[in-house]
Symmetry: C2
């Protein structure tokens, strides 16, 4: 299933993507409760569908079961009842909602650098440990939101990445158990500014600007992605292919990364791991393309979807 966080009617809500519709999970659950159990459906609904994704995906909560039942119920009901569901605002047309990043405020946003081979580089020259760095949750933005090009950089570039969303708390997670800690996957664009990164030894400066982590469109639950290391991943800028690879190329694969990071820090529901970006186009080195205002970037990962954003210049608002 595909869960989204979206903005509609001045509220931030949890929804599920169904074809070209977004299902309002609370209204859908309310409708389900009403028709099955009568009683006070609204109160029940508010209790059973939480406000934020981090609570929905927490494996210790009953919310995900309730959400999945709701989606299945509406799916069965759908073919004969689009008009009715739409009139009750249980279904909203996708283009009527503004998508937010699936997880708005993750506790941790951990990135892995240099996790795909550079074409021509032999494997035993590669690092013994994953290169970890952090992004701030203030960099997050949603599908189709603008990426702001900072006025202090001329070297902004994009990196398409598979993002792991944790659903189950754990520390010192074994490689064998690692995938059971995943709630789902989504797509991230790890934007960086090379000139800012290179100001000092640490990349954080170049990874920190606002809107430098578009994410989405949806969180795809892990049952739909049995092997996260078997997915094609491609990035286009203005329709031109700039990265093309497969998550099978990762130097440190998804179970290893979860296990490794959990040897350092406790992982909690809603924590996100960005798994690095392919450095090639079909086996040849990928060029570095610096972004200019108005560029359209789209990142496609097999089985997950397409994350699209357009760049624009940062506006001049001073404090």
């Amino acid at each position: 299933m595909r869960f989204v966080t979206y903005y509609h009617d001045t509220d931030i809500k949890l929804g599920a993507q169904l074809n070209n519709w977004v299902l309002d999970l609370r209204r859908g659950q309310n409708y389900l409760s009403g028709s099955k159990f009568v009683s006070d459906g609204k109160v029940l609904s508010n209790a059973l569908i939480p406000e934020i994704m981090t609570e929905l995906i927490d494996s210790d909560s009953p919310f995900m079961d309730e959400a999945q039942q709701t989606v299945k119920f509406i799916q069965e009901f759908l073919p004969n009842a689009v008009g009715k569901l739409k009139s009750k605002a249980i279904l909203i047309e996708s283009d009527q909602v503004i998508l937010k990043p699936p997880v708005i405020n993750p506790g941790k946003l951990i990135c892995v650098g240099m996790n795909y081979p550079s074409p021509g580089k032999v494997k035993d020259q590669q690092a013994a440990y994953p290169v970890l760095f952090l992004k701030s949750s203030s960099t997050l933005t949603g599908h189709q939101h603008p990426i702001l090009l900072p006025r202090i950089s001329d070297e902004v570039f994009c990196e398409g990445e598979l993002a792991i969303v944790i659903g189950k708390t754990g520390k010192h997670i074994s490689i064998e158990n690692a995938l059971s800690h995943v709630a789902g996957y989504t797509i991230a664009n790890d934007i960086g500014a090379r000139d800012l990164e290179q100001r000092t030894s640490q990349w954080a400066t170049g990874k920190l600007p606002d809107t430098f982590c578009p994410m989405g469109p949806a969180l795809v639950t892990s049952d739909e992605i049995p092997d996260p290391n078997k997915l094609t991943i491609r990035t286009h800028i203005n329709g031109v292919l700039v990265q093309s690879g497969n998550t099978s190329e990762m130097i440190f694969n998804v179970p290893y990364l979860i296990s490794y990071i959990s040897s350092i820090a406790m992982l909690f529901p809603g924590d996100i791991i960005l798994t690095g970006t392919p450095k090639s186009i079909n086996g040849r080195p990928a060029p570095i393309v610096y972004l200019k205002a108005g560029d359209h970037i789209s990142i496609e990962i097999e089985g997950i979807g397409v994350l699209s954003n357009q760049t624009k210049r940062e506006e001049y608002l001073d404090a």
Copy 2:
């Protein structure tokens, strides 16, 4: 004034430190409303004292004014009414509460590395830009909570630092306006694991372990610290002085850091900047002391207080 986030009676609350007491801000405000305005004090109180520090210190909110009025009222009332205030649980003895970090879930926790001179190094060899890196908010812990030594490191060290807490949103903040964006200051212990830091080019791995950012005890409002670059700062391990300096030695001072960071990312209320650690003891190079289980660390900053924590070995809980 000194505001704290604390745990008492299974609730996380906002309080103010008054001598050896913690004032429960909601109960205090309730009492103030009741005696001044009668009417429905409880509802008023819940509306006027928020749940979390980030909301209290937001310069766009009315909460800080209300909190300061409450503290002043209780202070005047205090000499003749300790017994009464205690019986109403408006005042709690300090040793009866568990302090949390003043800001529990900051949007950004930005650290500045190498921001004090190494003794003997001449100034023009120093960097053109502050070295920025991020810590995760999952590293935060409060005054007197244990620092867990990870089982995968033998080289854990501590760094006493002045922490800036932002109270007013801003981007591209000028150096002149920078201090007006500060809600207050607190003390941070930027714990690191050298062996983990040195696994890769990026320090994040060594800065990420749980409990690696003790912070507190209190947020001291900026009106009490007219010049944050004029404060002695000293760190002791088991009573032995290991760092001693003054915030006047910072290579990039507090207004500069706020202005610089805001040229990269929007700063929001509750965002925290760790300003780096002195590298000397009274002008001579400070030794690197690796921590062992049971060590007592205390960091004292003039006008702010003392942050104390004890180390212990991480327990063996596997997922």
